[in-house]
Each structure stands twice: as C-alpha cells, then as structure tokens.
C-alpha cells in the first residue's frame, strides 16, 4: 500500500498534482490554509499506486510519498 502526504501549509493550491495524478487520488480542498490557499489533499488514498508523479510535479515539495515494502517503479527518477 502506498501513502501520499500533503503538507497543508506548504501547499499553494496550484492543482498540478491533482491534474497529474493518474489515479485521481488528490483534490483541492474546500478549506483554505493560513495563506488562503485551497490546499490539495488525498481524497482517495487507497487508489494511490505510489508512482511519485504528484511529488515530481509539485513545485513546493509539499508532497511525500511512502510505500510499504519495495515496489516496482514504472520509471527511474
């Protein structure tokens, strides 16, 4: 099982992770953070395949991806 974590206060709500996640795991929340941004958060964690795409496109290093055990990766990064 993979796990994506979004740092709510680092996130600027740009939506790039949401746009690029192949699994539709992430969405922008209706709430705002302290800077007034609608931050991203996982809405369907179980679908996460740990592909790292969200982290790779996030301009703010707001995302961490963890997987359980070793895992095959579709691409080198």
């Amino acid at each position: 099982m993979s796990r994506v974590t979004v740092d709510r206060e680092r996130c600027k709500g740009c939506g790039l992770c949401v746009q690029n996640c192949p699994q539709g795991v992430l969405a922008l929340s209706k709430e705002i953070n302290l800077k007034g941004y609608f931050f991203a958060s996982p809405v369907c964690q179980p679908k996460c395949i740990g592909c790292r795409v969200c982290g790779i496109v996030c301009p703010d290093v707001a995302i961490e991806v963890a997987v359980n055990g070793t895992q095959y990766h579709y691409f080198e990064y």
Partner: protein, 248 residues
C-alpha cells in the same frame, strides 16, 4: 515498513518558497538539489543566484551561495571557479537575466569554456518585475511592455539561447528541456544531472535551458500554464540535447 520514495532532497532547505502557486521555478530548484545529492556534490557546490524571481534561491538550498547583479552570474561564476577550481559552481538564471542584460556574460563564459553549470529558466517573461517583454517572449504574447503583443516586425523573434550557444566551437554540454509534465520533469532531471556531471569531471561548460511557467504574469492558472507552454513555447523552443562535448 513504510519506505519514503519521494521527499525533499538534502540539498534543499525546509523553507517555503516565495514563488507563486504553480510556478515551476520550485520544480527546477528541486531538480538541482536532487542532482547535487545524487552526485554527492552538495558539500563542495556554490550556487550563484540571479536577479529575477529566483533572487532568493539561496534560501532554498543548503549549499553556499553568492547573489549576483542582474545578468552577471556567469562572470561571478567565472571569477569563483577560476580561483577555486575544486568547487562545483552553478548559476541559476532567468531569461531576462541571461538572455537580455547578461547576453555578453553567458556567451563569453560559454565560449571560454568555463567549467561551470548554468541552469537557465526560460519562462518567456520577466517574472519578478511584473511581466515585461523578455527576449524569449513569444510572437503575439502580451506583456506589460508589449501591450499589443510581441510584434516581430518591431521586436524581432524570440531568442533561442541553447541554439545560439550550441554553435560555438568550444566544447560544451548544451540542452533544452522543460518541466510542464511529469515526463519532462524526469527528462529535465537527467539533463541537469548530466550537466553537473560534466562539470564534476572537469570536462566542459554546461548549460540546461528549462522551459518554465509563469502563471502569474501569463495571467492564466497553473494547470493551464502547462498547456500554454506545450502549445506555444515547445514548438518554437525545441526540446533536445544540442551539443555534447564528445562531439566537438
């Protein structure tokens, strides 16, 4: 046992950047930091920050930094690298900085074959000063100093820096890449790593031009900016490796 497969690289600091939401400067910062980590160069690297939105780049790296005057980062890198050849020296420059005011400095650093690495962020605009025409602004693109759009009859065509530098006879690594899709980010990272590797091995000057977005001054949302880049910039600014030192 959870294994973290994606997180902040060590060469990057914890500070939250001052960049606008969705600005890909942040991605490029991370790629540089990852490259330094993976090549084991962090502790002997010195970055040179430009004047442009990345003027505060030093806040986001855990390497030594100098802050340049507008356009002069390659000259500073030259002064530093020549006197401290053991260091890994990179400049991080925008298109106004590198392709306008700093034209002479980048061309001569490249032509002398300074053993430095240049990360050139081309976002087709002056970001920091609020969206003026850059030498790289696209034909017809509206900016605050080209309110009718860039008129090529008056302002010429966008300057293709990588293409121009690749014509120099002095060996170099010159590539253009982008960060508007996950695939491109992956490729950009390879180019940036390669660039630093050439420097670390003392081979040549290296420059990676990275097409980047400026949602704020383009006036469109981050998720639309990536498409704008793909449709407007990518066809004009070919994404490819232009030159490898081995070929010279």
């Amino acid at each position: 046992m959870a294994l973290t497969v994606f997180k902040k690289p060590e060469a990057m600091s914890k500070n939250i950047t001052h960049y606008c939401p969705g600005c890909t400067h942040g991605v490029i910062h991370r790629l540089v930091a990852e490259a330094l980590d993976e090549l084991g160069l962090r502790e002997r690297t010195v970055g040179i920050a430009p004047v442009g939105c990345a003027v505060l780049a030093y806040n986001y790296f855990t390497v030594d930094f100098q802050e340049a005057a507008h356009g002069r980062a390659p000259a500073m890198a030259t002064g530093l690298k020549r006197t401290r050849p053991d260091l890994i020296v990179f400049t991080y420059q925008g298109d106004g900085d590198l392709a306008s005011i700093g034209t002479a400095e980048i061309i001569h650093a490249a032509n002398r074959g300074e053993k430095i690495t240049v990360i050139f962020v081309n976002n087709a605009i002056y970001g920091m000063t609020g969206g003026q025409l850059a030498p790289t602004t696209m034909p017809g693109q509206v900016t605050t100093t080209s309110p009718q759009g860039r008129n090529v009859a008056e302002m010429g065509y966008p300057l293709r820096v990588a293409d121009m530098l690749a014509t120099l006879r002095t060996p170099a690594y010159i590539a253009r890449t982008a960060v508007h899709t996950p695939q491109m980010v992956v490729q950009a990272k390879q180019c940036i790593k390669r660039a630093f590797d050439y420097q670390a091995r003392g081979v040549c000057f290296s420059l990676v031009e990275v097409l980047s977005t400026c949602p704020t001054n383009w006036g469109i949302a981050p998720v639309e900016s990536t498409a704008w880049l793909e449709q407007n910039m990518a066809p004009y600014f070919p994404i490819r490796e232009y030159k490898r030192p081995e070929e010279a």
